[in-house]
C-alpha cells in the first residue's frame, strides 16, 4: 500500500454548523466505497489533535453509513462561540476546511485520474 499522504480535501467534502459553543462538522466522502477508509482516518482522537490548539474538550463521532459520511461534534472549540469569541469567524464556519486540511493516507483502492 502506498504511504503517500494527501489532504482529506481530495476525498471528502464538509460543512460546519454552530449552536452556542458547540460545533458540528459533517464530512462526506465523494466515493461511497471510501466510507470505511474515512472511518479509519477520522478518529475522535485525530480530530481532537487537529483542534487541540482551539481548546476542544470533547469530540463525538456519529457515523452515518446511509450518507457515506460522519457527523463530528466538537465542544468548546469556538472559544466562546459567536458571542464570546475574539476570532474573526466566531461561528467557526471556516473550520470545515481546517478539517479537510488533515493529512490522510491515500485510500487503498482509489481510482483517480
Amino acid at each position: 500500500m502506498s504511504s503517500e499522504r494527501l489532504t482529506l480535501h481530495h476525498f471528502a467534502h464538509a460543512r460546519a454548523g454552530d449552536k452556542g459553543d458547540r460545533l458540528n462538522l459533517a464530512v462526506f466522502v465523494y466515493q461511497p466505497d471510501h466510507y470505511a477508509w474515512l472511518l479509519e482516518q477520522l478518529t475522535e482522537e485525530r480530530v481532537a489533535t487537529l483542534f487541540s490548539h482551539r481548546g476542544v474538550t470533547q469530540v463525538r463521532r456519529y457515523p452515518m453509513p446511509n450518507l457515506h459520511g460522519i457527523n463530528l461534534v466538537l465542544d468548546d472549540v469556538l472559544q466562546g462561540g459567536v458571542n464570546g469569541s475574539l476570532n474573526l469567524d466566531g461561528h467557526g464556519k471556516t473550520l470545515s476546511f481546517m478539517l479537510l486540511s488533515m493529512l490522510v493516507e491515500r485510500p487503498a483502492l482509489t481510482v483517480t485520474c
Binding site: 467534502h13 446511509n66 457527523n71 461534534v73 474573526l88
Partner: protein
C-alpha cells in the same frame, strides 16, 4: 395530494430578490402552496430587541418590505400562504407593515395571523429553568438581559392557518415549524403522528437555510462546481401526505440540487443525528436515504419520529462587556517582519496600559487568523514569502474605556510603529451574548391573534 413549500430567505441578510422565481414556480402547481421566510438567527432577535428598546415601533425584520413586496400580491391572489418569523422582537410591528404592503397590493382585507408568547423576558425570575445540552452557564442577571425567547413549535401556526390567516407572522419559532405548519394544516396530520411530523420537520430543516440546499455555501472550484451562483434558485420542497418529500428548485435558476448538496444540509447544525430535537417531534436521521430522481430533484426518505420533548429551548441574550477591533496593514518587502514587530510593540503597550483582565488576540491576516486559537498556538502558515499582512487586534473587557484604550494603541502605530503601516480601522461595540436553557412546555403560553388588515378580526 402534495403540498409545496418554498423558502425565500434563510437569514436576515439574505438575497431579497430570491422569492420572485420561487413564486413564479409555485404558481404552476395545482396543489396547496406556501412560502416561508426564515430571518431570525440566534442573535438577530437580540439585535431586534435592542432596536425596540430605542424605538417601540421597531424591532421587527428591517428588510421585511424588501423580502415581501416583490411577491406578496401574487401570493395573496393565488392563495399561497406566507409564513415568516420576521416579527422578530415585535410581531405586531411586522403585522402593521404587512398590512400596509397588502393595501398597496390592493388586498386591504388580508387576514394576518400573529403568533406571540415566545417572549418571556418579563418572566425570567418566575419560570423554572434547566440546562440546555452541554451549557453550564448560570442564568444571566435580569438587568443585563436583552431578550429571552422560547422556540415555539408549529402548533400555534397551524391554529393561525385554521383561522384563515393568509400571512403568518411570528417571533421566535423553531425554524422548521414554518414549513411543518402548512404541511400539518393541508395534510391534516395529527400532532402526534410522529413519523409524518418528522418528515415535515425534515422538509423545513432542509429548506430553512434557503440556498444552502440548492448549491449555496457548497462551491469549491474544481472539486464541487456550482453553476450560476449569482442567480441561485432557492429551494422548493414537495411533500406528499405519506411524508415522502422531494427537494427541488425553480427551473431556469442557478445552483443545483444533488445528493451532495442535500446531505451537507441534512446534517447542518445537527448534533446527535438520532436525536434531532424540535418542539414538535424528535427526529431520527440515521436511516435517511437520499436519492437523485431527476435533474435538480432529490428524494429524501426514511426519517423516523419520536414524541415531542416536554421541554422547550429558550435562548437568552444579554449584554456583557465591550468588544473592540482594530487593524493595520503592512505590505511589500519585509512586510511580515514589520507586522510582527508591530504586534510585539502592541503586546508591550497593552501589558503596560491596560488591566490584566483584558482579553486580547492578534491575527496576522494573510498569514494566520481564522484557523488559529486565541493563543496563536497554531500559526499554520508561519513560513513563506508574504507581502501583504494585516495585523488585527481583538479585545474584550467589561469597560468600554479599556477597550477603546487598547484599540487606540493600534491606532498609535501610525506614528510609533514599524515603517509603512497603513489603513487603520477601529470598531467598538457592546458584546451581546447568548445562552440557552430549557423550560417545561406547560409554563409557555403561545397566543394567536388574527388581524384583518390593521384591525383585530377575532
Amino acid at each position: 395530494m402534495t403540498v409545496v413549500i418554498g423558502c425565500g430567505a434563510g437569514f436576515s441578510g439574505d438575497r431579497t430578490d430570491a422569492a420572485v422565481p420561487l413564486v413564479e414556480t409555485l404558481l404552476t402547481y395545482d396543489t396547496p402552496c406556501a412560502l416561508m421566510f426564515e430571518t431570525l438567527g440566534e442573535r438577530t432577535l437580540a439585535a431586534a430587541q435592542l432596536r425596540r428598546i430605542e424605538d417601540p415601533q421597531s424591532g421587527d425584520e428591517p428588510l421585511l418590505e424588501a423580502f415581501l413586496s416583490p411577491v406578496l400580491g401574487d401570493c395573496l391572489s393565488a392563495n399561497i400562504t406566507v409564513l415568516g418569523n420576521f416579527g422578530a422582537a415585535n410581531p405586531e410591528a411586522a403585522q402593521r407593515r404587512v398590512a400596509a404592503l397588502a393595501r398597496t397590493s390592493r388586498f386591504p382585507e388580508v387576514k394576518l395571523g400573529v403568533v406571540s408568547g415566545d417572549d418571556v423576558r418579563d418572566r425570567l425570575e418566575t419560570l423554572e429553568w434547566s440546562a440546555w445540552e452541554g451549557e453550564r452557564r448560570e442564568l444571566p442577571s435580569g438587568s443585563s438581559v436583552v431578550a429571552a425567547n422560547v422556540y415555539l413549535g408549529a402548533e400555534s401556526l397551524v391554529e393561525a392557518l385554521q383561522r384563515q390567516a393568509q400571512v403568518v407572522i411570528t417571533g421566535r419559532v423553531a425554524d422548521p415549524a414554518l414549513a411543518l405548519a402548512p404541511l400539518c394544516h393541508h395534510h391534516n396530520w395529527a400532532l402526534d403522528d410522529w413519523d409524518r411530523l418528522a418528515a415535515g420537520a425534515l422538509a423545513g430543516h432542509l429548506i430553512e437555510c434557503g440556498a444552502q440546499v440548492t448549491g449555496g455555501y457548497f462551491a469549491d472550484p474544481a472539486f464541487k462546481d456550482v453553476p450560476d451562483l449569482a442567480e441561485l434558485g432557492y429551494p422548493i420542497v414537495e411533500v406528499e401526505r405519506s411524508g415522502r418529500l422531494v427537494v427541488t428548485k425553480p427551473p431556469g435558476t442557478g445552483g443545483m440540487v444533488t445528493e451532495q448538496t442535500v446531505r451537507e444540509q441534512l446534517l447542518y447544525e445537527i448534533h446527535d443525528p438520532s436525536v434531532y430535537i424540535t418542539p414538535d417531534v424528535v427526529l431520527d436521521l440515521t436511516h435517511v436515504e437520499i436519492r437523485q430522481v431527476g435533474r435538480d430533484r432529490v428524494v429524501v426518505s426514511g426519517v423516523r419520529g419520536r414524541p415531542r420533548p416536554e421541554t422547550l429551548k429558550t435562548t437568552i441574550s444579554f449584554l456583557d462587556g465591550f468588544q473592540g477591533e482594530a487593524e493595520i496593514s503592512y505590505a511589500g518587502p519585509n512586510a511580515l517582519a514589520r507586522a510582527r514587530l508591530a504586534r510585539e510593540i502592541l503586546q508591550q503597550r497593552l501589558t503596560k496600559r491596560c488591566p490584566p483582565d483584558l482579553r486580547s488576540r492578534f491575527d496576522l491576516i494573510g498569514v494566520s487568523s481564522v484557523f488559529d486559537g486565541d493563543s496563536e498556538a497554531w500559526r499554520g502558515a508561519s513560513a513563506g514569502a508574504v507581502d501583504d499582512v494585516r495585523l488585527r487586534l481583538a479585545v474584550e473587557h467589561e469597560q468600554r474605556e479599556v477597550v477603546e484604550l487598547a484599540t487606540q494603541e493600534l491606532l498609535a502605530l501610525y506614528c510609533c510603529g514599524p515603517a509603512g503601516g497603513g489603513g487603520v480601522r477601529r470598531y467598538h461595540k457592546p458584546r451581546l451574548k447568548t445562552a440557552s436553557y430549557l423550560v417545561s412546555r406547560e409554563q409557555v403560553h403561545p397566543k394567536v391573534t388574527i388581524y384583518q388588515g390593521d384591525s383585530i378580526y377575532e
